[in-house]
Structure formats: structure tokens, C-alpha cells
């Protein structure tokens, strides 16, 4: 099998495929593109969180005849974004359910006139009471969605939880909260659209999932497949933030293009992007855990609630991943997870790297340290005692068929970080110092690919195509937005075909030219799509051997000569493969039992923090990330994924707070939404152990989301170690540390002088 073979290109640090274009300023992002007769589009949005639209008035100071105006009435097809449940209007109709909800669109050739005009559209509302938190939503005094404000719920049961409490040596309870988080891709959302009666709608934009956008456009414009074309432009960061939102923006730009007869460009500025687009789901997770006197987990009862915002969008799948990661990488015979996504009158929360797992893992791993404290056990020993191993079954009763090396990862992380040495040293130094240091750990796994039967439903198709000018093109709908899709998929094809890296390129991310190999999400590209590209490449070789007399170990020239022969005799040289589930997989959506994921990546993260008792601020001083992600396809890109995820996780834990005022993001500027800078990110030490996964592309498992899961709990555990106080909510800002730490200091009264 190829995964165990020595490889030439897979595993080598080849230069990023589109790297030079990015480095010389040649790469074309959507705002870099222009068109003849281009008009600009703008969006008029709701200013209240919930209400009935009473009237829309157009201020006569504006010459409205110069403008194209689009409302819900102009939508030719279905006025809904096609995600899991199509309940989110493309343009609000009659009522609004969150602030910054799009109501009306304007287009004009002059961008500045557009802004003035947008201010001159006066919308009056009859406000309705708004629900702005999980707590208000679950009270159900106002019903804002469905019958009970519930977007989705899951129940996961294993063993008999209720029988355990009476015989437990310890019962430990805790409540953990995580806040919203903004992706803060540096390139804002943007789209260009063109419409013609002949070709239908074409959009170019910053996006992750061309076929998601395609699906919505087909529905909004009521057009057949071949009259909708979606082209991804170079995309300046996404992190999940360009998974669902581009479907909305593409619809808006398309509607304006159709009505105005001009190409339309819509580029959000930072304030609009922050206020109006998706964020990570806030969560509230309650744990109740029974352990025996030696720290063995006996039962876990977990109540998990996430805030889904005003429409259901992707919340059900985020909730699913949260549910499936709620119990951590541990053996526990008795488990009950009750999970629910609640509707609120806020901008719908959406996909964000980790997709529910960071929330669930924060709670679980923070709780493990509270269990350790309650039982008097070492946090490391407690985890080790309960780790999953090969042959064990996890919360969904999935058998761990592959090697699980958590113990090895833990040993490595402890050694690299000098965890015990530092804990001893800090225990001595801290009492004498204004800066208190601590070490914290998190153990976790992250499922690669779509949940349960999701990959089967996706039914992905991917392949390779050889052009007459002797280039191999990888045919996938998976996109590059910094993670390295272009590079790793071309590495895989070049490796499998026995060609040079430079012989292989990506087909344009254009739905007119590529098959649907599924969305670029869920850490599925390397493992699932990579495997499809590998199979398609091997299938092509077999085809050429059979029909074009390809030799067994062909040279590059022999390969292309065989392609030429095949083309002359049979036509296009192309090989496509469809997804096939690994054998023995079963998943029951009703009971949430079975093989939740095809594979898991495993990790131990360690944070060293300093808590300054003068400023009540916590900083991460040093960070270790040790993981097993299957085969590492590209050592530099893989490191970059981990480091970037860790930095984003540090932001999630200590810096990034979405301040909502009456449902509107009040800090919607980069100066007030604080992410870590080059001066704030600590050294991040990345170590991989490699166990090739037989069903992943050249042995790869998922990697992209994993690093966002571990930092927050490791950091808050380290803060507990440093300060001796448990903090159970993120973001943990200095003001929050102050509120707790200062309360323990002597009371001082200001003295009037």
C-alpha cells in the first residue's frame, strides 16, 4: 500500500503551489479584480434585533433613479439560503430577527453615492421583544423560532448513568462557558457577480465551498445547474467564516447584477464584516462526573447548550460535533450527553475552525482539572488513568481500531515542556513574585471528516485530468485559503503518478470545470479528498496500463506518451473516484452510536502562563503542541497549521471578546476586537508523531481544526495552577481575573483628601 512506501514528494517541504503569486503581489483576490461597467453593491440592514418592518421610505434628497434597488420581492426563486434547514431569508421579508439582517440592496456605479444612499433608506419597525442569551431562550417566554426556540437537540446515552452516583467516591460538578469568536480573516468577505439571460449567474468570490454557493444560487434564482457558475478567487483566510456566509453575499451580488444589468462588486469593509457575518457559537456546558477513589471515570452527565443565533444555519452540525467531542479522549462506561442549540435574536453563529469541538473540549479539559483538584490527584495522572487505547470504545461505542498513542504524546509533551520541573520551581518562586507562573495541560482528540454518515451523504467525486500540453490537473472542489490544499493535493497526485511536483496543478476552483468533492471544511481535505485523489491517480495508471501500454515503472516521458496514445484512441485522459467508506463502519443517527468519525487526530498541549498580580493579566509565555495526525504530508505546512491554530486558540482564551449591545456587535473594529499580534504570541513548539492512517490520502488524517481545540483549556488550567483559582469562562480578560482575584485581596477604601 502506498502509505507505507517511501515517498519522494509527499512528506517533503515543497514550495507552496501558489506561493510566488502571493509573495510578489500577483495573486488575485476578489477586490483586486475589476470589470467593465462595474457597479458597486451595498446592503441596508436592520438596526433592531427583532421586529416587524412597518415601512421603508426613501429620502427624496437622493436621486433614486440612478440606483438599482432590490428587496425580497425581487427574488426570482426561493428567498432562503440553502444550508441544512432553509430558514434564513436571503433578504428579510416583513420582519427581522436579528440586528444587521439584510433587508434591501442598492447598486450604483459610484461607491460613495451608494453609502450616502444607504443612509437615506429609512426603515421603521414595530419592535418585538428580543431574546439575547441562551438563558432567555430556554425560558421560552418569547418563542422566536419553531415551537420552543430549539434549533436542534441530541441525546447520547451509554451504560447506566443513574446507577453510578450512589457508589461514586467523588462527584464533581462544574459549569463552563465560552464566548463568541470572530474569524478575523484579514480579507473581508467579497463577491463579484454577473448575470446574463444566456449564461445565467456567475460569481467570483472569497469562499471555501463553491458547491454550497452553487446550491443556494440555484434555488434563489430558480436556475438549472448549468446556469449557475461559482468561481473561487484567491481567498485571504476563512477559518470557517467563508463556509456559509458567501452563499448570502453571492445571492445579494447576483440579485443586483440581474436587476441592474451590470457586473456587481460587493466588498464588505471591516465594520460591516464584523457586525454582519458569522462568529463561533457561544456555549454553556455543565458537567457532573462520578469518579472512583483512584480517579477512574465512572459516569459523566453533560448538559451542553450552544447559542445558534436567529436562524438554524449550520448549528445542528456544530452541535453534533460538540456532542461527539464532549467526553474527551477517555474511557467512561456510563455517559449521558444532552445537547441543544438555542435560537437567539443575534446574527446567526456559523462554522469556525473546530466547529463545536473547541467549546466542548474547553469544558471537558477544564473539568478534568477540577476533578483532579477535588480528588487530590495530579492532573496528568488523572488523565493518563482514563485515556482511550486501541481496542477501547469511546462515548459513541466506537471501537478504537487504530493505534492510540496518547501516553506517548503525553510523555513527549511533559518532557519537552519540563512540566514537572517547572511546576516545582514555580511553587517555590510564586509566593515571592508579583508574577505567578503555572503549567496547564489539555488532552484531546478531533474527528476527521464529516460526522457519522456525513461523508456517505456527501458522495464526493474527485479526480485527475491530463491536458494535451502535458499537465496534470487535480479535479476537486476543495479550495485553498491558506491551509495548503493546492500544495498537498498536487503533492499526492504527483507522488501517486510518479511525476514531478511541477507537472501537477490544480484545476481552477470553478464549478464549470470541477466535480463536487465536497466542502473544504471539517479537516477532511487531506484525509478524505487526498485519498480520492490518490485513488484516482492510481486508477489512471491502471487505465493507461490497460489501454495505452504504460510500462510498470514509467518515466515521466513514458507517462505522458501513454496519455497521448490514450487521448488519441479514447478521448480525454481523466480519472474520477467516488468516496467509499472504510469497511465495517456503522453509524446510527437516531441513537448517536457507532463510528462517529473515520479517524481521530490526537493531541496533548501544554501551556506555560504568567499571571501578573499588578495588572491581573495572564499571558502565555511558552506553548507545546504534541500531536498524532497520521502521516504528515508536508512538514512546513503542517507546522503552520498547528501554530496558526494555537495562536487563534490563545486569542480565543485570553483576548477576543465579541461585545454585543442589544444584539449588535459594539466592538466591530480591529482596534477594539483584539487578536494577538506578533508581540503577543509565545514561542509555539510543534511535535508530530506519525502513524499513517490506511484510509487517508497517503496516510493523512485531519489536521486543520485540531490545534484550536487545546489551547484554551491548557491555558486556563495553567492559570489555575499559577493563581490557585479556577476560571471557567472564556474569553478570560484581565477585567475578569481582576473581578475574582481582587475580591480576595484586602478591601481598600478610597480616602477623600
Amino acid at each position: 500500500m502506498s502509505t507505507s512506501a517511501t515517498t519522494r514528494i509527499v512528506g517533503a517541504p515543497v514550495p507552496r503551489k501558489e506561493g510566488i503569486d502571493k509573495l510578489v503581489g500577483r495573486a488575485q483576490y476578489v477586490d483586486d479584480i475589476t470589470r467593465e461597467d462595474l457597479w458597486h453593491g451595498a446592503t441596508v440592514r436592520s438596526t433592531i434585533p427583532r421586529g416587524i418592518i412597518r415601512s421603508i421610505a426613501f429620502d427624496p434628497r437622493i436621486e433614486w433613479s440612478e440606483f438599482t434597488i432590490v428587496t425580497a420581492a425581487d427574488v426570482p426563486g426561493n428567498n432562503h439560503i440553502q444550508l441544512i434547514v432553509a430558514d434564513q431569508p436571503c433578504l428579510a421579508e416583513g420582519r427581522v430577527n436579528h440586528c444587521d439582517e439584510p433587508i434591501l440592496l442598492l447598486a450604483h456605479p459610484d461607491r460613495h453615492k451608494l453609502l450616502e444612499a444607504a443612509d437615506a433608506v429609512h426603515i421603521e419597525y414595530d419592535p418585538l421583544p428580543a431574546i439575547l442569551s441562551i438563558e432567555e431562550s430556554e425560558k421560552q417566554r418569547e418563542i422566536i423560532l419553531g415551537e420552543d426556540n430549539s434549533i436542534k437537540s441530541f441525546a447520547l446515552e451509554k451504560g447506566d448513568v443513574d446507577s453510578v452516583w450512589a457508589r461514586a467516591a467523588h462527584i464533581v460538578e462544574g459549569e463552563y462557558r465560552t464566548g463568541a469568536q470572530e474569524h478575523l480573516y484579514i480579507e473581508n468577505n467579497g463577491m463579484i457577480a454577473e448575470w446574463s439571460a444566456e449564461h445565467g449567474i456567475t460569481v467570483w468570490g472569497s469562499l471555501q465551498c463553491p458547491y454550497y454557493v452553487h446550491k443556494t444560487l440555484r434555488s434563489v434564482f430558480d436556475l438549472p445547474d448549468d446556469k449557475v457558475r461559482v468561481i473561487q478567487t484567491e481567498t485571504g483566510g476563512a477559518f470557517g467564516g467563508k463556509e456559509d456566509y458567501p452563499s448570502t453575499l453571492a445571492s445579494h451580488a447576483g440579485l443586483l447584477a440581474m436587476k441592474s444589468g451590470h457586473p456587481i462588486k460587493m466588498i464588505y469593509d471591516r465594520m460591516e464584516d464584523l457586525a454582519a457575518t458569522t462568529k463561533r457559537h457561544p456555549s454553556r456546558i455543565r458537567h457532573r462526573t462520578a469518579v472512583d477513589k483512584d480517579g477512574k471515570l465512572l459516569a459523566m452527565e453533560i448538559n451542553l447548550a450552544i447559542d445558534g443565533g436567529a436562524y438554524s444555519t449550520l448549528s445542528s452540525t456544530v452541535l453534533s460535533r460538540a456532542t461527539l467531542h464532549a467526553c474527551g479522549p477517555y474511557v467512561c462506561p456510563n455517559i449521558r450527553v444532552r445537547a441543544r442549540a438555542w435560537a437567539t435574536n443575534t446574527v446567526p453563529y456559523g462554522a469556525f475552525r473546530g466547529f463545536g469541538a473547541p467549546q466542548a473540549i474547553f469544558a471537558m479539559e477544564r473539568h478534568m482539572d477540577e476533578i483532579a483538584a477535588a480528588t487530590g490527584l495530579d492532573p496528568v495522572g488523572l488523565r493518563r488513568r482514563n485515556f482511550l487505547h486501541e481496542g477501547d470504545r469511546n462515548a459513541t461505542d466506537q471501537l478504537m481500531r487504530e493505534p492510540v498513542i496518547l501516553d506517548d504524546l503525553l510523555d513527549r509533551a511533559l518532557k519537552e515542556s519540563d512540566y514537572y520541573g517547572k511546576r516545582v520551581r514555580y511553587a517555590q518562586e510564586n509566593p515571592k513574585s508579583a508574577v505567578r507562573r503555572g503549567m496547564g495541560i489539555a488532552a484531546f482528540y478531533h474527528g476527521s471528516g464529516f460526522t457519522g454518515s456525513g461523508e456517505l451523504y456527501l458522495n464526493s467525486l474527485a479526480g485527475v485530468h491530463v491536458t494535451p500540453d502535458r499537465k496534470v490537473r487535480v479535479l476537486v472542489s476543495n479550495t485553498e485559503f491558506g491551509q495548503g490544499t493546492n500544495t498537498i493535493l498536487t503533492q499526492i497526485a504527483a507522488e501517486a503518478l510518479g511525476l514531478d511536483f511541477s507537472d501537477v496543478m490544480m484545476a481552477p476552483a470553478d464549478t464549470a470545470q470541477i466535480p463536487n468533492s465536497g466542502p473544504t471544511v471539517a479537516s477532511r481535505t487531506s484525509m478524505v479528498v487526498g485519498r480520492l485523489v490518490e485513488r484516482a491517480s492510481l486508477q489512471l495508471l491502471a487505465l493507461l496500463r490497460e489501454h495505452a501500454a504504460l510500462a510498470d515503472h514509467p518515466t515521466r516521458d513514458e507517462f505522458f506518451a501513454a496519455c497521448d496514445r490514450y487521448r488519441a484512441a479514447h478521448g480525454a485522459v481523466e480519472s474520477l473516484c467516488r468516496y467509499e467508506a472504510p469497511p465495517g463502519i456503522y453509524w446510527d443517527d437516531a441513537t448517536y452510536h457507532g463510528e462517529a468519525y473515520g479517524a481521530y487526530a490526537w493531541a496533548i498541549y501544554v501551556a506555560q502562563v504568567a499571571v501578573d498580580t499588578v495588572t491581573y493579566s495572564a499571558e502565555v509565555e511558552d506553548f507545546w503542541a504534541v500531536q498524532e495526525v497520521g502521516r504528515v504530508l508536508h512538514p512546513v505546512l503542517a507546522k503552520g497549521q498547528i501554530e496558526g491554530g494555537v495562536a487563534q486558540g490563545i486569542g480565543y482564551a485570553l483576548y477576543e471578546k465579541v461585545v454585543l449591545q442589544n444584539g449588535h456587535m459594539a466592538n466591530n473594529q480591529m482596534t477594539n476586537y483584539i487578536i494577538p499580534t506578533a508581540a503577543d504570541v509565545p514561542p509555539i513548539h510543534v511535535h508530530f508523531e506519525q502513524i499513517p492512517f490506511r484510509y487517508g490520502g497517503f496516510g493523512a488524517k485531519g489536521i486543520g481544526e485540531l490545534p484550536h481545540d487545546g489551547p484554551a483549556p491548557a491555558i486556563l488550567n495553567a492559570i489555575r495552577d499559577a493563581a490557585g483559582v479556577a476560571f471557567n469562562a472564556i474569553p478570560l480578560l484581565p477585567e475578569d481575573l481582576f473581578a475574582t482575584l481582587a475580591a480576595r485581596e484586602p478591601v481598600e477604601e478610597p480616602v477623600a483628601l
Binding site: V614, Y655, Q669, I674, P734, E735, F738, P750, L753
Partner: protein
């Protein structure tokens, strides 16, 4: 980008005299713009009300740093990069050099001017606490002539200053008498760089035989404008640093600080951290033994 270039006029008369004559002829009509690190942000956000702007960028008369025996003078047009490069600033006024290094980022420091930082009048201005602690004087200039005010009297309220409609901030003068002073500055921002101060405290003090003979304390983000902490200074003046001094000083600053809750922090946090910073300064002045 919400600003519209067509809606604003910008001229660059090219000399200080020409700018002053313009301001004298049409006082209040023209808004001076130097490096643009404040006004251009408001412009991009669609919040720049000024429609007629006059550029001060590149006026050599304003971009000077020079010293006499008694004073160091910084032209209002000196950038924070200029301050960081100045040997005399880093040797004699290290707090100012430090403050300059905390302003935004390198790309902001090359454009942001000292004058702009003060005229903008933000309570969180990075250079203000240091300038107050160094007892800076301000020189204002207009076609009518020039006048001097102590910097401590320059700010008159939130984003308000003594600057008249036809006046420009010309220079900042620092007495060269702090070589023997103990000096302290700490900024507590939202992160290590590119941060606006939640609170900052600067202090200079002269200690003789264990007694505080002279002390200046100044803060950012504790009042509607950058502020000297006179009442806390009074408590400290003439005292030895004892446990009682520490307690009294903390009580004084807690009373004197008048911070607010805003999008970056809370009043309670700012007040307590200000007291902690003051205590940290006093520890450095000789109260080390009283550290808890």
C-alpha cells in the same frame, strides 16, 4: 472605506507662516492634519466632519528636536520614530522614549506626531503621562505670536484643549533636570502592541535621605483627559516610604482617579490597577521591603 475624498478639501501651503496666515484669515475653518494617524481613521470610518484640511506634514519648522543647556525642545511635528531615534530623549527622558515605542506599531510611529498625540486630546494618549511627569511646557503659535502654557494646563476636558482656533501646537519643552530622578512608566493595554491604554501611570521622584523631596505622577485613562495626580503627589511629598505611606498613597490614588467603564475596560479595574502601578513605583523607590 466610508470616507469620500471628493467631500474633503486638503491643501499643503508648504510653510508654517503660510499655514498660520491661513488659520488667522479663516479661524475655525481649517483643520490641521499632520501624520493622519487619527484623522484618516475617522475619515475611513465616515466620521470625519472636517471638510477643509490643511496639511502640516513635512513642515521642517515643526519637525525638530533640539536641546539648550536648560531645555530639550521637541517640535510638534516630530514623529515618534524621531523621538525613538533621538539620543537625548533616550538618555535623559527614557520614559518618553518608552512611551514612543508603545505607540501603535512601527508604521504608526513613522507618521504619528507628538503634537498630534496631544492636540487630539485622547485621555489614553501614550505620550502624555511621560510629558506630564517631566513637567513639560507647551508652546503655541499663531499669526498673533506665540505663548507658553504648562502642559498640565493644556487639556481642559474630554478632547478639549486651550488651543485657539487660529493656533497650532508649536513645540514641547522639557526641563533637563531629571537625571537624578527616579522614573517610572507602565502602560497597561489590551495587548503588547497596537494597544490603547486601559490605564498608564508615569512618575518621577527625587529621593533624598529616604524622603520624597519631589514627585510628579501622571496617568492616562483615569480622567477625561491625561492628568497629573496632584492630590496623590501631595500625600507623598516629604514622606519616607513606609508601609503607612504605601497605604495612604493607594487610598489617595483610588480617590483621585476618575476612570470610566468603556468598551476597553472597567472603571473598577482601572482604578485598582492604577493603585497597583503606583505601589510598584513606590516599591522601586525604596519600599521593596514592604512587598507582600
Amino acid at each position: 472605506m466610508r470616507g469620500n475624498a471628493e467631500a474633503h478639501e486638503l491643501i499643503a501651503p508648504g510653510s508654517l507662516t503660510a499655514v498660520l496666515n491661513l488659520l488667522a484669515t479663516e479661524p475655525g475653518v481649517w483643520t490641521p492634519i499632520a501624520g493622519g494617524t487619527e484623522l484618516m481613521v475617522a475619515y475611513a470610518a465616515g466620521r470625519l466632519n472636517a471638510t477643509r484640511l490643511v496639511s502640516l506634514w513635512g513642515l521642517s519648522e515643526l519637525r525638530v528636536i533640539r536641546a539648550t543647556d536648560q531645555h530639550m525642545s521637541i517640535g510638534a511635528g516630530a514623529t515618534f520614530t524621531d523621538l525613538r531615534k533621538s539620543a537625548i530623549v533616550s538618555e535623559e527622558f527614557p520614559l518618553l522614549a518608552q512611551a514612543a515605542s508603545w505607540i501603535g506599531s512601527i508604521a504608526n510611529q513613522t507618521r504619528a506626531t507628538v503634537g498630534g498625540n496631544l492636540v487630539n486630546g485622547s485621555p489614553a494618549a501614550d505620550s502624555s503621562p511621560a510629558l506630564l511627569a517631566y513637567d513639560a511646557g507647551i508652546e503655541l503659535i499663531s499669526a498673533r505670536g506665540s505663548r507658553r502654557v504648562p502642559y498640565s494646563e493644556f487639556h481642559t476636558g474630554y478632547k478639549r484643549t486651550v488651543l485657539a482656533a487660529d493656533e497650532l501646537l508649536y513645540a514641547i519643552h522639557l526641563p533637563r533636570r531629571f537625571a537624578r530622578h527616579r522614573q517610572y512608566l507602565r502602560k497597561v493595554g489590551t495587548r503588547r502592541a497596537m494597544a490603547i491604554a486601559k490605564v498608564a501611570l508615569a512618575g518621577t521622584a527625587l529621593i533624598e535621605s529616604g524622603t520624597i523631596r519631589e514627585v510628579r505622577l501622571a496617568a492616562a485613562s483615569l480622567a477625561p483627559s491625561p492628568t497629573r495626580l496632584y492630590r496623590t503627589e501631595e500625600i507623598l511629598l516629604g514622606r519616607q516610604i513606609t508601609k503607612e505611606t504605601l497605604r495612604a498613597a493607594r487610598a489617595a490614588i483610588l480617590a483621585e482617579a476618575l476612570p470610566i467603564d468603556d468598551i476597553r475596560s472597567t472603571a473598577a479595574y482601572r482604578r485598582r490597577v492604577a493603585a497597583n502601578l503606583l505601589q510598584e513605583f513606590l516599591f522601586q523607590l525604596g519600599g521593596e521591603e514592604f512587598r507582600p
